[in-house]
């Protein structure tokens, strides 16, 4: 089993604020890793550190065995890492198709414009917004924008996909569709880390789960182990709603 | 040694002028701080302030310092008018829109000002005597202008920190949507802030007119100085502008001691770019 991503003792500070403390985990190829934790636990910061938006003060990050600790996001994209954003970032004045072509053109396969167009059409079909191809991205609704984020990430044919709360703000039927899509992506052999608040979803989909609280990793294991982990329950007790979800899944 | 003498002789003047430059820049940086708009009509408004002094002193015979109490409210109202007509509609648009909107106001004022005053220079022959200290002579007009600038800065500070509208302005500057949620009438506060910014510009123009000649086009130079000062002191930080003004005044005083005076703008703008790159929050602001 080859390790696609290794995070080793990563610490990130903003001024006096300790956002991540000594975070360490390995991610084997082909797995889905669920990343959970209460609000403000540092999940998105961890994503930003992994894909080069932030650089950690301590620790190393290895991607495909190479040290990428101080690489920029575009370096990592070229190496085959793609992500979606919790708050969607569509390229508003470009068409949906052009948005997805950006992903294909500048991802690790470095496609030509012509090929990128073909890939964009395929991916848009896959995420189910092919009817919107020529619309401006800014004119989509939230659910469609989430799919667009996904499509842009997939169009680069990444090795590793970072999904940041792709389910938030979707209605139940849209959630089911999106979960199915995540599973389909994994079936294509793409490794995934997903941040998710919806416990049911994350428990069902993930091979392993990693829990952050106040920037520290408090647990790592199979969904089952996590659900019964005392520290996790304790952390989530501070957030009764989440705790309830956690219990419900049990 | 010769340089030291020159420095000592020129420095006090640079400091006095720095205060006045600071007030001009404060107007620009206040508007930027509150609504992220760079006001390109800043220069012509400074010019209008200068003509305010001219009309009040030469035509009406009123003391120019008393005249400040006429120039200031007119500047405030003019700013509110400009905001309402030209800026409000583009306040949330990309930067280019507000830049061009204020630039069109600039063209309109200069066009009308040229028709009214021509572009020829005017002079206000107003003398407040001078004080000689050792090797340097301090001019009365500049001393009073510096004092007036300090008072204007102090008043602005009190206004922003001690009054309700002032606190609203700071709240809107901090986070406009949050301020709106709290029931602060943001449109009116933005208009007021813009008015305050132009008022400061007009005041500085009125003060400058007491010691330098001016024309309808002169404001442009002070607008550029205001950019430099704003960046030195940290854009969006009104008190920093006063410090930035002092820095510029001192710079203008000391550079000629070492180089030919025509190099001053090279140094000024070079430093401007450098500070933007290295310390975008200003020489004295927190590091990014």
């Amino acid at each position: 089993m080859t390790l696609l991503l290794q995070v080793q003792g990563v610490t990130k500070r903003f001024g006096g604020l300790q956002a991540l403390t000594q975070v360490t985990f390995d991610l084997p190829k082909g797995q889905i890793l669920g990343l959970i934790g209460p609000n403000g636990a540092g999940k998105t910061t961890l994503f930003n550190t992994i894909n080069g938006v932030y650089h950690p003060e301590e620790g190393r990050i290895l991607f495909q065995g190479k040290d990428v600790t101080n690489k920029m996001p575009y370096h990592l994209a070229k190496m085959g890492m793609a992500r979606t954003h919790q708050i969607v970032r569509p390229l508003n004045e470009l068409s949906v198709r052009e948005n997805v072509m950006v992903g294909a053109c500048f991802g690790h396969e470095n496609q030509s414009l012509g090929n990128a167009g073909k890939i964009a059409d395929e991916v848009l079909e896959f995420v189910g917004i092919s009817s919107r191809t020529d619309q401006l991205a800014g004119s989509l609704n939230v659910a469609q924008k989430k799919r667009l984020e996904m499509a842009r990430a997939l169009a680069s044919h990444p090795h590793l996909l970072l999904l940041d709360e792709v389910l938030a703000g979707l209605n139940p039927s849209e959630i089911d569709g999106m979960i199915q899509m995540v599973l389909d992506i994994r079936a294509q052999g793409i490794t995934i880390i997903m941040i998710e608040h919806l416990m049911k979803a994350v428990m069902n989909v993930s091979d392993r789960i990693f829990v952050l609280d106040y920037g520290e990793q408090i647990a790592e294991g199979s969904p089952n182990e996590i659900a019964n982990h005392p520290k996790v329950i304790e952390a989530y007790l501070g957030d009764p709603k989440l705790a309830e979800q956690l219990m419900e899944d049990d | 040694m010769q340089q030291i003498n020159l420095l000592l002789a020129s420095l006090p003047d640079g400091i006095l002028l720095g205060f006045v430059y600071g007030v001009a820049a404060m107007g620009l940086t206040l508007i930027w701080g509150v609504m992220n708009v760079i006001n390109l009509s800043h220069g012509p408004i400074i010019s209008l302030g200068m003509f305010g002094t001219y009309i009040i002193f030469i035509k009406l015979g009123v003391n120019p310092y008393l005249g400040l109490f006429i120039v200031a409210p007119i500047g405030l109202l003019l700013g509110i008018l400009i905001y309402t007509v030209a800026v409000h509609r583009v306040i949330n648009a990309p930067h280019l829109s507000s830049l061009l909107a204020t630039f069109s106001v600039n063209m309109i004022i200069i066009g009308l000002g040229t028709a009214a005053f021509t572009t020829s220079p005017y002079n206000v022959d107003f003398n407040m005597g001078s004080v000689t200290l050792g090797s340097t002579t301090l001019l009365g007009t500049r001393l009073i202008a510096a004092l007036a600038s300090v008072i204007a800065t102090g008043s602005l500070y009190l206004f922003l920190y001690r009054t309700r509208p002032g606190k609203y302005i700071r709240a809107v500057a901090n986070n406009r949507s949050a301020a709106e949620l709290m029931g602060i009438p943001s449109s009116r506060i933005l208009a007021l802030s813009f008015g305050l910014g132009t008022m400061l510009a007009a005041i500085s123009g009125a003060l400058i007119a007491t010691f330098f000649p001016f024309s309808i086009l002169s404001g442009g130079g002070y607008e550029l100085k205001s950019f430099v000062i704003g960046v030195l002191g940290g854009l969006g930080n009104p008190i920093g502008a006063l410090v930035g003004g002092l820095a510029l005044g001192v710079l203008e005083a000391i550079v000629p001691a070492f180089l030919e005076t025509s190099w001053v703008p090279v140094i000024e703008f070079g430093l401007f770019i450098l500070v933007l790159l290295v310390r975008p929050n200003g020489l004295f602001g927190a590091k990014q």
């Binding site: - | 002789a9 020129s10 640079g14 572009t119 020829s120 001016f214 086009l217 002169s218």
Partner: protein, 448 residues
């Protein structure tokens, strides 16, 4: 199919836009006849007056750009007023009559150059080709004139330059450009001559604006002053928008200078003079460019007292026919008093040297056409080359060498100084050259 329709539509939109813009651009061209119209209607009127002789009448169009907006606006307008005064006088007098009986009248055509070079060439080309200008007058200022000269020379049109002192333009191989002003390099030389009689041991600080004109002036001044035996203790150039001269004045004091020469244009020059006064630094003599001859300089109050400056022409020391006779040079045109009176009657304003320059440009053209007895460019050019006359404005004679063709060599400047009259009012007195001086110079202006 539908797409093709839209393509066609788009093309239509583009072309209609293009046509509108063309219409906008073309509109001024149709104005030319409108301006010329009064002149054209003059023709039958003149014909009815003298039906027997029925002389042929031609209207000569004189083209120029004026700065109606921008930095040069004020001086440019004065220049244009002067020119228009001459033109109206000639036309009202029934025009010029050549030996073959042809009556020559004049019409002016001008556009706003906005004080920038951006459109100067475009507008001069339009003047030549659309408005069929026969002769050209320069814009105001050396920079604009340099750009206009290229177009004039290229089209073989003669251009009389006024308000363009810089020497450079006349050293570029032009053959049809003639300068009325004393060249920049000589602006302050008469001041040096005067200074020599006042204090040969003076220590001079040269402090000038860092721009084309002032740099040219200083380029002529420095070697001249050194040759006259003066010590130059400071040379300092300052940026055009300098407002605070404090640091420079400190340098002047530090250098031990007793005399300050230099300046640049009105805003900086007047500021400089004022601050020299306010700081009471004990300078004995101040000679600065451009600002002192302007009437507005008196706005400085006491700071103006004693400040001198070179002037192309002064109403008080206007050149006279006697002077011309004394030199054995042909006199032409009205006296200075006549000019001043006519100008004041027309514009309710005293003429400045800019106005005199504009008027004399017309006068020179008139003289050259008379001498040539023709309106043909080549003949007029030959007449201009041979010109050696004296007018109220002073001598006019051109360098005809290949290196500096058209450079003014006949005109000299006077030096004015602001003094107080008996009523205690500030007045501009001519203090040099001694033979035309109205007052003796005040020296030193402050106790050393």
């Amino acid at each position: 199919m539908k797409r093709t329709l839209f393509n066609l539509f788009a093309l239509l939109v583009v072309f209609s836009l293009a046509l509108t813009a063309c219409g906008g651009g073309a509109a001024p061209a149709t104005e030319a006849p409108v301006v010329e119209a009064p002149a054209a209607t003059d023709a039958p009127a003149a014909a009815t007056e003298a039906p027997v002789a029925a002389p042929e009448e031609v209207t000569i169009t004189v083209g120029f750009t004026a700065s109606q907006t921008g930095a040069q606006e004020v001086s440019s307008k004065r220049q244009v007023n002067g020119f228009n005064l001459w033109m109206n006088q000639v036309n009202e007098a029934g025009g010029l009559t050549l030996s073959d009986g042809t009556v020559v009248k004049f019409a002016a055509q001008s556009y706003d150059d906005e004080s920038t070079k951006e459109r100067v060439q475009e507008l001069y080309t339009r003047l030549i080709t659309e408005d069929n200008a026969d002769f050209l007058i320069s814009p105001y200022s050396s920079g604009l004139t340099a750009a206009a000269a290229v177009i004039a020379e290229q089209n073989g049109k003669l251009m009389i330059t006024t308000g363009a002192a810089d020497d450079d333009t006349y050293k570029q191989g032009y053959t049809g450009v003639f300068q009325l002003y004393t060249p920049g390099s000589l602006y302050l030389t008469s001041t040096v001559d005067m200074l020599k009689t006042l204090d040969p041991a003076a220590k001079i600080a040269i402090v000038n604006e860092s721009d084309k004109f002032s740099t040219a002036v200083v380029g002529g001044l420095k070697p001249y002053a050194e040759a006259a035996g003066f010590e130059i203790v400071l040379e300092e150039a300052y940026a055009s928008d300098t407002a605070d001269f404090g640091p420079i004045i400190n340098k002047i004091v530090d250098s031990g200078a007793t005399v300050v020469l230099g300046g640049g244009h009105y805003p900086d020059g007047s500021t400089f003079a004022r601050q020299l006064y306010e700081r009471k630094v004990g300078i004995q003599f101040i000679g600065i460019l451009v600002a002192p001859p302007d009437s507005k300089f008196s706005e400085l109050g006491d700071a103006a007292l004693g400040v001198t400056g070179p002037s192309q022409w002064e109403g008080k020391a206007t050149h006279t026919e006697e002077e011309a006779n004394g030199l054995g040079i042909e006199w032409f045109g009205p006296s200075g008093e006549e000019f001043s009176a006519a100008f004041e009657a027309a514009y309710t304003d005293k003429p400045t040297y800019h106005a005199a320059g504009g008027y004399t440009a017309g006068l020179l053209l008139e003289k050259a056409i008379r001498d040539a007895d023709s309106v043909d460019s080549e003949a007029v050019k030959a007449a201009l080359d041979a010109t050696n006359i004296f007018t109220f404005y002073g001598g006019i004679k051109f360098d005809t060498s290949a290196e500096a063709h058209g450079l003014q060599v006949g005109h000299s400047m006077v030096v004015i100084q602001w003094q107080k009259n008996e009523a205690g009012e500030l007045v501009r007195e001519v203090v040099w050259p001694a033979d035309v001086a109205t007052k003796a110079p005040i020296f030193p202006i402050t106790a050393p």
